[in-house]
């Protein structure tokens, strides 16, 4: 694997994570429904979504959770480990526009043998609104 590896010593409080851009389409929502087993119709049936007072089909909260998971496994790299991931669904997002996952380091510390980094993470829509805030903790390798 030739992906870049980040080490504990490389990060400071404030270090930016990402961005990871995603352009979810209705096709991706269908693929996600199939892969995850979440067949709630608001994610692929526009008529059903409109009848439920939604503006159209909306992105699965769990898919946004998955995007933020990728943000963090990309950051941790092969030698790191995603230890905690949390998300809150504050706003709906629709397919057809870009969403961006971002984050920043809020704390770094050592606990036992583990070099840990806490991060604030979020997914924002094209208007820059944080529709899906969250937090993550990763274990990073150390050069020490």
């Amino acid at each position: 694997m030739t992906r870049k590896q980040i080490y504990f010593e490389d990060v400071e409080v404030g270090t930016a994570i990402g961005p990871l851009e995603k352009q979810p389409t209705t096709q991706q929502l269908v693929k996600y429904a199939g892969a995850s087993g979440d067949f709630y119709q608001i994610h692929y049936d526009k008529d059903f979504a409109l009848k439920n007072n939604l503006p159209g089909v909306i992105i699965h909260g769990a898919l946004k959770n998955a995007f933020l998971g990728q943000l963090m496994t990309d950051f941790a790299g092969e030698l790191g480990w995603l230890r905690k991931l949390s998300v809150q669904y504050r706003g709906m997002d629709q397919p057809g526009s870009t969403v961006v996952c971002k984050g920043r380091v809020t704390r770094k510390y050592v606990e036992g043998e583990n070099h840990l980094v806490d991060c604030e993470i979020w997914l924002e829509n094209a208007k820059g609104e944080k529709t899906t805030p969250g937090a993550a903790t990763v274990i990073l390798p150390s050069r020490a």
Binding site: K31, A35, M72, K84
Partner: protein, 149 residues
């Protein structure tokens, strides 16, 4: 102030567990999941590359666990609106999930509490789901918050 909906009877449901379910993790299911979320990390789709890593083979992306749905413990709360919201979830990961693993998934009610929100009394429920592999290792825990109002 006493709770309006979260009565002593309702609180007795804390600790209630649903039937466990066991799933076998298929390599193709991991690949399809990684493809569906648009994650091209070779750890999730390329056995040859993944073998060269410290994991020694393919593993599942963290949120793959969602595809192994737990039976959900029914929580009875007599609340007039009976509307629900997904308040989000928190995951903790301890061990990787690998193709061929047999994962036992079990959900349990760990908290029910009431607070006054903008829309009146709101009830928050926490359901904790454990994911345990065939060696008895706890691989992950999910805590999901539900909101009823």
């Amino acid at each position: 102030m006493p709770n309006k909906y979260v009565t002593e009877e309702v609180l007795k449901q804390i600790g209630k567990a649903a039937e466990p379910r066991t799933y076998e993790v298929e390599r193709g299911a991991i690949r399809r999941f990684a493809d569906a979320i648009g994650d091209d990390n070779p750890l999730f789709n390329n056995e040859v590359e993944a073998r060269k890593t410290r994991f020694g083979g393919m593993i599942a992306p963290p949120t793959f666990l969602r595809s192994m749905m737990a039976a959900f413990p029914e929580i009875r709360i007599d609340i007039p609106g009976n509307r629900g919201l997904d308040g989000g979830s928190e995951w903790e990961y301890f061990e990787p999930i690998r193709p061929g693993d047999r994962i036992t998934v079990q959900a349990r009610v760990t908290d029910i509490r009431e607070s006054e929100g903008r829309l009146g009394p709101m009830v928050f429920t926490t359901v904790e789901t454990t994911y345990t592999n065939q060696f008895g290792q706890l691989c992950a825990v999910q805590r999901a918050t539900g909101i009823r109002y």
